[in-house]
Protein backbone atom coordinates (compact mmCIF):
# COMPACT_ATOMS: atom_id res chain seq x y z
CA UNK A 1 0.00 0.00 0.00
CA UNK A 2 1.34 3.42 -1.01
CA UNK A 3 1.80 5.95 1.75
CA UNK A 4 1.70 9.57 0.82
CA UNK A 5 3.38 12.21 2.98
CA UNK A 6 1.65 15.39 4.06
CA UNK A 7 4.02 17.45 1.91
CA UNK A 8 3.24 15.38 -1.19
CA UNK A 9 -0.45 15.80 -0.49
CA UNK A 10 -0.04 19.57 -0.17
CA UNK A 11 1.90 19.71 -3.44
CA UNK A 12 -0.85 17.84 -5.26
CA UNK A 13 -3.49 20.16 -3.80
CA UNK A 14 -1.49 23.23 -4.89
CA UNK A 15 -0.98 21.91 -8.40
CA UNK A 16 -4.68 21.29 -8.95
CA UNK A 17 -5.59 24.66 -7.45
CA UNK A 18 -3.14 26.61 -9.63
CA UNK A 19 -3.65 24.80 -12.88
CA UNK A 20 -7.29 23.76 -12.77
CA UNK A 21 -8.95 26.07 -10.28
CA UNK A 22 -10.29 23.30 -8.04
CA UNK A 23 -9.36 24.06 -4.45
CA UNK A 24 -9.05 20.97 -2.28
CA UNK A 25 -7.03 22.67 0.46
CA UNK A 26 -9.94 22.54 2.90
CA UNK A 27 -10.83 18.91 2.34
CA UNK A 28 -10.40 16.78 5.48
CA UNK A 29 -6.77 15.77 5.24
CA UNK A 30 -6.86 12.17 6.44
CA UNK A 31 -9.51 10.98 4.05
CA UNK A 32 -8.24 13.14 1.17
CA UNK A 33 -4.76 11.64 1.52
CA UNK A 34 -6.24 8.19 1.63
CA UNK A 35 -8.29 8.80 -1.52
CA UNK A 36 -5.14 9.79 -3.39
CA UNK A 37 -3.31 6.72 -2.09
CA UNK A 38 -6.15 4.50 -3.29
CA UNK A 39 -6.27 6.23 -6.66
CA UNK A 40 -2.51 5.75 -7.10
CA UNK A 41 -2.90 2.10 -6.19
CA UNK A 42 -5.75 1.58 -8.68
CA UNK A 43 -3.95 3.41 -11.46
CA UNK A 44 -0.66 1.69 -10.69
CA UNK A 45 1.08 5.00 -10.00
CA UNK A 46 4.07 4.27 -7.81
CA UNK A 47 5.31 7.72 -6.98
CA UNK A 48 3.70 11.10 -6.24
CA UNK A 49 5.89 12.75 -8.91
CA UNK A 50 4.37 10.51 -11.57
CA UNK A 51 0.91 11.48 -10.34
CA UNK A 52 1.86 15.16 -10.49
CA UNK A 53 3.09 14.78 -14.07
CA UNK A 54 -0.09 13.12 -15.18
CA UNK A 55 -2.14 15.83 -13.50
CA UNK A 56 -0.08 18.48 -15.30
CA UNK A 57 -0.37 16.95 -18.72
CA UNK A 58 -3.71 15.23 -18.95
CA UNK A 59 -6.90 17.20 -18.43
CA UNK A 60 -9.11 14.11 -18.73
CA UNK A 61 -7.10 12.46 -16.03
CA UNK A 62 -7.74 15.45 -13.78
CA UNK A 63 -11.49 15.09 -14.22
CA UNK A 64 -11.29 11.40 -13.44
CA UNK A 65 -9.01 12.17 -10.48
CA UNK A 66 -11.59 14.59 -9.07
CA UNK A 67 -14.32 12.01 -9.64
CA UNK A 68 -12.38 9.41 -7.71
CA UNK A 69 -11.31 11.73 -4.89
CA UNK A 70 -14.95 12.31 -4.04
CA UNK A 71 -16.38 9.37 -2.14
CA UNK A 72 -19.40 7.62 -3.66
CA UNK A 73 -22.44 7.01 -1.50
CA UNK A 74 -22.63 3.62 0.08
CA UNK A 75 -25.89 2.22 -1.25
CA UNK A 76 -29.42 3.18 -2.28
CA UNK A 77 -31.96 4.12 0.40
CA UNK A 78 -29.26 4.38 3.07
CA UNK A 79 -31.00 4.91 6.43
CA UNK A 80 -34.44 3.64 5.33
CA UNK A 81 -36.20 5.53 8.13
CA UNK A 82 -35.13 8.82 6.54
CA UNK A 83 -36.80 7.86 3.26
CA UNK A 84 -40.02 7.15 5.13
CA UNK A 85 -39.89 10.61 6.71
CA UNK A 86 -39.14 12.20 3.34
CA UNK A 87 -42.19 10.49 1.87
CA UNK A 88 -44.64 10.87 4.75
CA UNK A 89 -43.69 14.35 5.92
CA UNK A 90 -41.14 16.42 4.09
CA UNK A 91 -42.01 15.99 0.43
CA UNK A 92 -45.73 15.70 1.19
CA UNK A 93 -45.57 18.99 3.11
CA UNK A 94 -43.65 20.83 0.42
CA UNK A 95 -46.08 19.63 -2.23
CA UNK A 96 -49.07 20.63 -0.16
CA UNK A 97 -47.64 24.09 0.48
CA UNK A 98 -46.17 24.95 -2.90
CA UNK A 99 -47.77 22.66 -5.46
CA UNK A 100 -45.84 21.43 -8.45
CA UNK A 101 -42.52 22.53 -9.87
CA UNK A 102 -40.51 22.86 -6.67
CA UNK A 103 -36.74 22.33 -6.71
CA UNK A 104 -34.74 19.58 -5.05
CA UNK A 105 -30.94 19.89 -5.17
CA UNK A 106 -28.38 17.13 -4.73
CA UNK A 107 -24.99 18.88 -4.49
CA UNK A 108 -21.69 17.11 -4.97
CA UNK A 109 -23.19 13.93 -6.41
CA UNK A 110 -20.78 11.12 -7.11
CA UNK A 111 -22.55 7.82 -7.66
CA UNK A 112 -26.23 8.73 -8.14
CA UNK A 113 -27.49 6.49 -5.35
CA UNK A 114 -29.32 9.34 -3.63
CA UNK A 115 -30.67 10.55 -6.96
CA UNK A 116 -32.12 7.22 -8.04
CA UNK A 117 -33.50 6.58 -4.54
CA UNK A 118 -35.20 9.97 -4.66
CA UNK A 119 -36.52 9.42 -8.18
CA UNK A 120 -38.00 6.06 -7.18
CA UNK A 121 -39.59 7.58 -4.09
CA UNK A 122 -41.09 10.38 -6.20
CA UNK A 123 -42.36 8.09 -8.94
CA UNK A 124 -44.12 5.98 -6.32
CA UNK A 125 -45.65 9.14 -4.85
CA UNK A 126 -46.79 10.16 -8.33
CA UNK A 127 -44.64 13.28 -8.16
CA UNK A 128 -41.63 12.54 -10.33
CA UNK A 129 -42.82 14.67 -13.24
CA UNK A 130 -44.01 17.41 -10.90
CA UNK A 131 -40.67 18.42 -9.37
CA UNK A 132 -37.40 19.82 -10.64
CA UNK A 133 -34.38 17.77 -9.61
CA UNK A 134 -30.97 19.43 -9.84
CA UNK A 135 -27.79 17.36 -9.62
CA UNK A 136 -24.34 18.91 -9.44
CA UNK A 137 -20.94 17.27 -9.41
CA UNK A 138 -17.30 18.29 -9.45
CA UNK A 139 -16.56 15.77 -12.18
CA UNK A 140 -17.97 15.21 -15.69
CA UNK A 141 -17.02 11.59 -15.38
CA UNK A 142 -19.17 11.22 -12.28
CA UNK A 143 -22.11 12.74 -14.13
CA UNK A 144 -21.57 10.31 -17.01
CA UNK A 145 -21.53 7.41 -14.57
CA UNK A 146 -24.73 8.62 -12.93
CA UNK A 147 -26.48 9.06 -16.30
CA UNK A 148 -25.40 5.60 -17.45
CA UNK A 149 -27.41 4.00 -14.63
CA UNK A 150 -24.60 1.54 -13.91
CA UNK A 151 -24.74 0.14 -10.40
CA UNK A 152 -22.04 -1.94 -8.72
CA UNK A 153 -23.09 -5.39 -7.68
CA UNK A 154 -21.74 -5.23 -4.15
CA UNK A 155 -24.31 -2.57 -3.29
CA UNK A 156 -27.30 -4.53 -4.60
CA UNK A 157 -28.27 -6.68 -1.66
CA UNK A 158 -28.26 -3.95 0.97
CA UNK A 159 -30.07 -1.59 -1.39
CA UNK A 160 -32.83 -4.16 -1.96
CA UNK A 161 -33.23 -4.60 1.79
CA UNK A 162 -33.18 -0.87 2.41
CA UNK A 163 -35.86 -0.30 -0.19
CA UNK A 164 -38.16 -2.75 1.57
CA UNK A 165 -37.47 -1.12 4.95
CA UNK A 166 -38.16 2.29 3.45
CA UNK A 167 -41.71 1.10 2.63
CA UNK A 168 -41.09 0.88 -1.10
CA UNK A 169 -44.24 -0.23 -2.91
CA UNK A 170 -42.82 -2.92 -5.16
CA UNK A 171 -39.41 -4.53 -5.46
CA UNK A 172 -36.30 -2.54 -6.21
CA UNK A 173 -35.62 -4.95 -9.06
CA UNK A 174 -38.51 -3.27 -10.93
CA UNK A 175 -36.13 -0.38 -11.47
CA UNK A 176 -33.18 -2.41 -12.67
CA UNK A 177 -32.26 -4.40 -15.71
CA UNK A 178 -29.33 -6.73 -16.06
CA UNK A 179 -27.19 -6.42 -19.17
CA UNK A 180 -24.09 -8.59 -19.55
CA UNK A 181 -24.19 -9.46 -15.85
CA UNK A 182 -24.18 -5.78 -15.00
CA UNK A 183 -26.99 -4.14 -13.05
CA UNK A 184 -28.30 -1.00 -14.71
CA UNK A 185 -30.82 1.38 -13.20
CA UNK A 186 -33.81 2.55 -15.20
CA UNK A 187 -32.49 5.82 -16.64
CA UNK A 188 -35.98 6.95 -17.70
CA UNK A 189 -36.33 7.87 -14.01
CA UNK A 190 -33.80 10.67 -14.46
CA UNK A 191 -34.65 11.92 -17.94
CA UNK A 192 -35.91 15.29 -16.66
CA UNK A 193 -33.09 15.83 -14.18
CA UNK A 194 -30.82 18.87 -14.69
CA UNK A 195 -27.13 18.01 -14.37
CA UNK A 196 -24.39 20.57 -14.01
CA UNK A 197 -20.77 21.00 -13.06
CA UNK A 198 -19.67 22.72 -9.86
CA UNK A 199 -16.45 23.67 -8.09
CA UNK A 200 -15.34 22.61 -4.61
CA UNK A 201 -17.51 25.36 -3.10
CA UNK A 202 -20.60 23.90 -4.81
CA UNK A 203 -20.75 26.87 -7.17
CA UNK A 204 -22.64 27.73 -9.24
CA UNK A 205 -25.47 27.13 -6.77
CA UNK A 206 -29.13 27.20 -7.80
CA UNK A 207 -31.78 29.49 -6.31
CA UNK A 208 -35.13 28.86 -4.66
CA UNK A 209 -34.48 25.27 -3.56
CA UNK A 210 -37.07 23.64 -1.31
CA UNK A 211 -35.12 20.52 -0.37
CA UNK A 212 -31.37 19.88 -0.31
CA UNK A 213 -30.16 16.29 0.05
CA UNK A 214 -26.57 16.58 1.24
CA UNK A 215 -25.84 13.47 3.25
CA UNK A 216 -22.34 12.39 4.18
CA UNK A 217 -20.65 14.96 2.00
CA UNK A 218 -19.51 17.45 4.63
CA UNK A 219 -17.54 14.73 6.41
CA UNK A 220 -14.91 15.07 3.68
CA UNK A 221 -14.40 18.78 4.37
CA UNK A 222 -12.67 20.51 7.25
CA UNK A 223 -14.69 22.90 9.38
CA UNK A 224 -13.64 25.96 7.39
CA UNK A 225 -15.02 24.54 4.16
CA UNK A 226 -18.07 23.11 5.93
CA UNK A 227 -19.00 26.60 7.09
CA UNK A 228 -18.47 28.18 3.68
CA UNK A 229 -20.54 25.54 1.97
CA UNK A 230 -23.37 25.75 4.46
CA UNK A 231 -23.62 29.44 3.72
CA UNK A 232 -23.88 28.71 0.01
CA UNK A 233 -26.52 26.07 0.62
CA UNK A 234 -28.43 28.42 2.91
CA UNK A 235 -28.46 31.07 0.20
CA UNK A 236 -29.71 28.59 -2.37
CA UNK A 237 -32.73 27.65 -0.26
CA UNK A 238 -36.11 29.28 0.25
CA UNK A 239 -37.24 30.22 3.75
CA UNK A 240 -38.73 27.10 5.28
CA UNK A 241 -36.75 24.90 2.91
CA UNK A 242 -35.32 21.61 4.20
CA UNK A 243 -31.70 20.46 4.45
CA UNK A 244 -30.91 16.80 5.08
CA UNK A 245 -27.39 15.88 6.24
CA UNK A 246 -25.88 12.53 7.24
CA UNK A 247 -26.90 10.79 10.46
CA UNK A 248 -23.54 11.56 12.07
CA UNK A 249 -22.94 14.98 10.62
CA UNK A 250 -23.65 18.07 12.64
CA UNK A 251 -24.17 21.76 12.02
CA UNK A 252 -22.85 22.11 15.56
CA UNK A 253 -20.76 25.22 15.91
CA UNK A 254 -20.70 25.92 12.20
CA UNK A 255 -22.49 28.53 10.24
CA UNK A 256 -26.05 27.40 10.63
CA UNK A 257 -26.62 27.77 14.33
CA UNK A 258 -29.04 30.62 13.84
CA UNK A 259 -29.91 30.00 10.25
CA UNK A 260 -31.33 26.51 10.58
CA UNK A 261 -33.65 24.76 13.04
CA UNK A 262 -33.17 21.07 13.72
CA UNK A 263 -36.63 19.67 13.01
CA UNK A 264 -35.92 15.95 13.05
CA UNK A 265 -33.03 14.87 15.24
CA UNK A 266 -33.03 11.17 14.41
CA UNK A 267 -32.81 11.82 10.67
CA UNK A 268 -30.85 15.06 10.90
CA UNK A 269 -33.31 17.20 8.95
CA UNK A 270 -32.95 20.98 9.25
CA UNK A 271 -35.27 23.75 8.22
CA UNK A 272 -34.12 27.17 7.00
CA UNK A 273 -35.34 29.76 9.46
CA UNK A 274 -35.55 33.13 7.74
Amino acid sequence: MIELGIVDTRNIINLIAEKYNYDFSDFALTSFKRRIEMLMEQNNIKHPDILMNRLMENKNFVDSFIGQINVPSTEMFRDPSLWRVLQDEIITNIYRETGTGFKIWLPNSVSGDELFSLAILLVEMGLLDKVQILVSSMSERSLDTIRSGLFPEYKLEISYDNYIRSNGKFSLSNYFSVVNNQAIRDVSLIKHVTFFNQNTLLEPAPQGVKLVLFRNKMIYFNQTLQSKILKIIYNSMTTGGYLVIGAKESLGLLYGNNEFTLMNEAENIYKRRL
Binding site: T30, S31, R35, R165, I219, K248
Partner: protein
Protein backbone atom coordinates in the same frame (compact mmCIF):
# COMPACT_ATOMS: atom_id res chain seq x y z
CA UNK B 1 1.14 10.10 28.58
CA UNK B 2 -0.87 8.00 26.13
CA UNK B 3 -3.38 9.75 23.90
CA UNK B 4 -5.63 6.85 23.04
CA UNK B 5 -6.44 3.21 23.51
CA UNK B 6 -7.87 1.88 20.24
CA UNK B 7 -9.72 -1.43 20.34
CA UNK B 8 -10.86 -3.48 17.35
CA UNK B 9 -13.10 -6.50 17.52
CA UNK B 10 -15.57 -8.61 15.63
CA UNK B 11 -17.31 -11.94 16.22
CA UNK B 12 -16.98 -13.00 19.87
CA UNK B 13 -15.63 -9.69 21.09
CA UNK B 14 -18.73 -8.11 22.57
CA UNK B 15 -18.48 -9.73 26.00
CA UNK B 16 -14.75 -9.14 26.18
CA UNK B 17 -15.32 -5.50 25.44
CA UNK B 18 -18.06 -5.11 28.02
CA UNK B 19 -15.74 -6.67 30.62
CA UNK B 20 -13.02 -4.18 29.74
CA UNK B 21 -15.41 -1.23 29.82
CA UNK B 22 -16.86 -2.29 33.15
CA UNK B 23 -13.39 -2.51 34.66
CA UNK B 24 -12.15 0.92 33.59
CA UNK B 25 -13.01 3.66 36.09
CA UNK B 26 -15.17 6.63 35.23
CA UNK B 27 -12.12 8.84 35.54
CA UNK B 28 -9.96 6.81 33.16
CA UNK B 29 -7.72 9.52 31.71
CA UNK B 30 -7.04 8.06 28.27
CA UNK B 31 -9.71 8.26 25.54
CA UNK B 32 -10.90 4.84 24.38
CA UNK B 33 -11.76 4.37 20.70
CA UNK B 34 -13.80 1.35 19.65
CA UNK B 35 -13.87 0.09 16.08
CA UNK B 36 -16.20 -2.88 16.21
CA UNK B 37 -17.78 -4.80 13.35
CA UNK B 38 -21.52 -4.34 13.51
CA UNK B 39 -24.62 -4.50 11.36
CA UNK B 40 -24.61 -1.74 8.77
CA UNK B 41 -28.32 -1.04 8.72
CA UNK B 42 -29.05 -0.96 12.45
CA UNK B 43 -28.14 2.38 13.90
CA UNK B 44 -29.23 1.92 17.49
CA UNK B 45 -28.93 -0.75 20.19
CA UNK B 46 -25.23 -1.53 20.08
CA UNK B 47 -24.20 1.65 21.85
CA UNK B 48 -26.88 1.18 24.48
CA UNK B 49 -25.82 -2.42 25.13
CA UNK B 50 -22.22 -1.35 25.67
CA UNK B 51 -23.15 1.67 27.77
CA UNK B 52 -25.05 -0.43 30.33
CA UNK B 53 -21.84 -2.09 31.47
CA UNK B 54 -19.48 0.81 31.02
CA UNK B 55 -18.38 3.30 33.66
CA UNK B 56 -17.10 5.59 30.94
CA UNK B 57 -19.79 7.31 28.91
CA UNK B 58 -19.90 5.63 25.48
CA UNK B 59 -20.73 7.87 22.53
CA UNK B 60 -21.06 7.45 18.79
CA UNK B 61 -19.12 10.53 17.74
CA UNK B 62 -20.27 13.10 15.26
CA UNK B 63 -17.93 13.98 12.44
CA UNK B 64 -14.99 16.22 13.55
CA UNK B 65 -15.83 15.71 17.21
CA UNK B 66 -12.95 16.55 19.56
CA UNK B 67 -11.50 13.50 21.33
CA UNK B 68 -11.64 13.90 25.10
CA UNK B 69 -10.49 11.77 28.02
CA UNK B 70 -13.06 10.02 30.17
CA UNK B 71 -15.00 8.81 27.17
CA UNK B 72 -15.31 5.79 24.93
CA UNK B 73 -16.00 6.49 21.26
CA UNK B 74 -17.80 3.81 19.28
CA UNK B 75 -17.56 3.87 15.48
CA UNK B 76 -21.14 4.50 14.25
CA UNK B 77 -22.96 1.97 12.06
CA UNK B 78 -22.04 2.15 8.36
CA UNK B 79 -19.25 4.71 8.87
CA UNK B 80 -15.50 4.29 9.06
CA UNK B 81 -13.97 6.07 12.03
CA UNK B 82 -10.73 7.93 11.25
CA UNK B 83 -8.52 9.92 13.57
CA UNK B 84 -7.99 13.34 12.05
CA UNK B 85 -5.07 15.59 12.90
CA UNK B 86 -5.91 18.01 15.71
CA UNK B 87 -7.21 15.19 17.90
CA UNK B 88 -10.56 14.95 16.19
CA UNK B 89 -12.61 12.10 14.85
CA UNK B 90 -13.44 12.11 11.16
CA UNK B 91 -16.07 9.83 9.71
CA UNK B 92 -16.06 8.32 6.25
CA UNK B 93 -18.46 6.37 4.08
CA UNK B 94 -15.86 5.10 1.66
CA UNK B 95 -15.86 1.53 0.39
CA UNK B 96 -15.88 -1.29 2.97
CA UNK B 97 -12.53 -2.87 3.83
CA UNK B 98 -12.62 -6.62 4.45
CA UNK B 99 -16.39 -6.28 3.89
CA UNK B 100 -16.52 -4.06 6.94
CA UNK B 101 -17.58 -0.48 7.54
CA UNK B 102 -16.40 0.44 10.14
CA UNK B 103 -13.04 -1.05 9.27
CA UNK B 104 -10.62 -1.73 12.11
CA UNK B 105 -7.67 -1.32 9.74
CA UNK B 106 -8.68 2.22 8.85
CA UNK B 107 -9.15 3.26 12.47
CA UNK B 108 -5.75 1.83 13.38
CA UNK B 109 -3.90 3.27 10.37
CA UNK B 110 -5.23 6.77 10.96
CA UNK B 111 -4.72 6.51 14.73
CA UNK B 112 -1.11 5.43 14.18
CA UNK B 113 -0.53 8.46 11.95
CA UNK B 114 -2.06 10.81 14.49
CA UNK B 115 -0.86 9.37 17.79
CA UNK B 116 2.45 7.70 16.79
CA UNK B 117 4.00 6.05 19.87
CA UNK B 118 1.39 7.54 22.19
CA UNK B 119 -1.24 4.90 21.62
CA UNK B 120 -2.19 1.35 22.43
CA UNK B 121 -3.81 -0.87 19.79
CA UNK B 122 -5.74 -3.95 20.86
CA UNK B 123 -7.25 -6.66 18.65
CA UNK B 124 -9.93 -8.86 20.16
CA UNK B 125 -11.75 -11.97 18.96
CA UNK B 126 -12.99 -11.92 15.38
CA UNK B 127 -13.63 -13.93 12.24
CA UNK B 128 -11.65 -12.15 9.55
CA UNK B 129 -8.29 -10.47 9.10
CA UNK B 130 -9.41 -6.85 9.48
CA UNK B 131 -7.12 -5.02 11.90
CA UNK B 132 -3.96 -6.99 11.13
CA UNK B 133 -2.56 -4.43 8.69
CA UNK B 134 -3.61 -1.57 10.93
CA UNK B 135 -1.92 -3.10 13.97
CA UNK B 136 1.25 -3.41 11.91
CA UNK B 137 1.09 0.34 11.32
CA UNK B 138 0.69 0.92 15.07
CA UNK B 139 3.79 -1.17 15.65
CA UNK B 140 5.78 0.66 12.94
CA UNK B 141 4.98 3.92 14.71
CA UNK B 142 6.14 2.45 18.02
CA UNK B 143 2.71 2.25 19.58
CA UNK B 144 1.97 -0.62 21.95
CA UNK B 145 0.36 -3.62 20.23
CA UNK B 146 -1.77 -6.16 22.05
CA UNK B 147 -3.90 -9.08 20.88
CA UNK B 148 -6.31 -11.09 22.95
CA UNK B 149 -4.93 -14.58 23.60
CA UNK B 150 -6.27 -16.69 20.69
CA UNK B 151 -6.86 -19.56 23.13
CA UNK B 152 -9.34 -17.39 24.95
CA UNK B 153 -11.03 -16.02 21.81
CA UNK B 154 -14.39 -17.31 20.69
CA UNK B 155 -13.12 -16.87 17.14
CA UNK B 156 -9.37 -16.74 16.77
CA UNK B 157 -8.95 -15.73 13.10
CA UNK B 158 -8.49 -12.03 13.70
CA UNK B 159 -5.95 -12.26 16.48
CA UNK B 160 -3.96 -14.91 14.60
CA UNK B 161 -3.94 -12.80 11.43
CA UNK B 162 -2.57 -9.90 13.44
CA UNK B 163 0.10 -12.05 15.07
CA UNK B 164 1.12 -13.42 11.70
CA UNK B 165 1.80 -9.95 10.34
CA UNK B 166 3.29 -8.30 13.41
CA UNK B 167 5.47 -9.26 16.34
CA UNK B 168 2.95 -7.95 18.80
CA UNK B 169 4.12 -6.64 22.15
CA UNK B 170 1.66 -8.62 24.25
CA UNK B 171 -0.66 -11.60 23.93
CA UNK B 172 -3.05 -11.15 26.81
CA UNK B 173 -6.14 -12.71 28.31
CA UNK B 174 -9.03 -10.35 29.03
CA UNK B 175 -7.94 -10.02 32.67
CA UNK B 176 -4.41 -9.20 31.63
CA UNK B 177 -5.67 -6.59 29.16
CA UNK B 178 -7.68 -4.99 31.94
CA UNK B 179 -4.72 -4.99 34.33
CA UNK B 180 -2.48 -3.52 31.69
CA UNK B 181 -4.91 -0.72 30.87
CA UNK B 182 -5.40 0.10 34.55
CA UNK B 183 -1.65 0.34 35.11
CA UNK B 184 -1.25 2.51 32.03
CA UNK B 185 -3.48 4.96 33.82
Amino acid sequence: MYKAVVIGGSAGSFQVLTRILSALPKTYPIPVLLSMHRLKHIRSGFLEALAIKSNLPVVEPFDKEQIKPGRAYLAPANYHMFIELGNRIALSTEEPVHHSRPSIDLSFITAAQAFRDKMVGIILSGANSDGAYGLQKVKENNGITIVQDPNECQVRTMTEAAMKLTRVDHVFTTDQIINFLLKLN
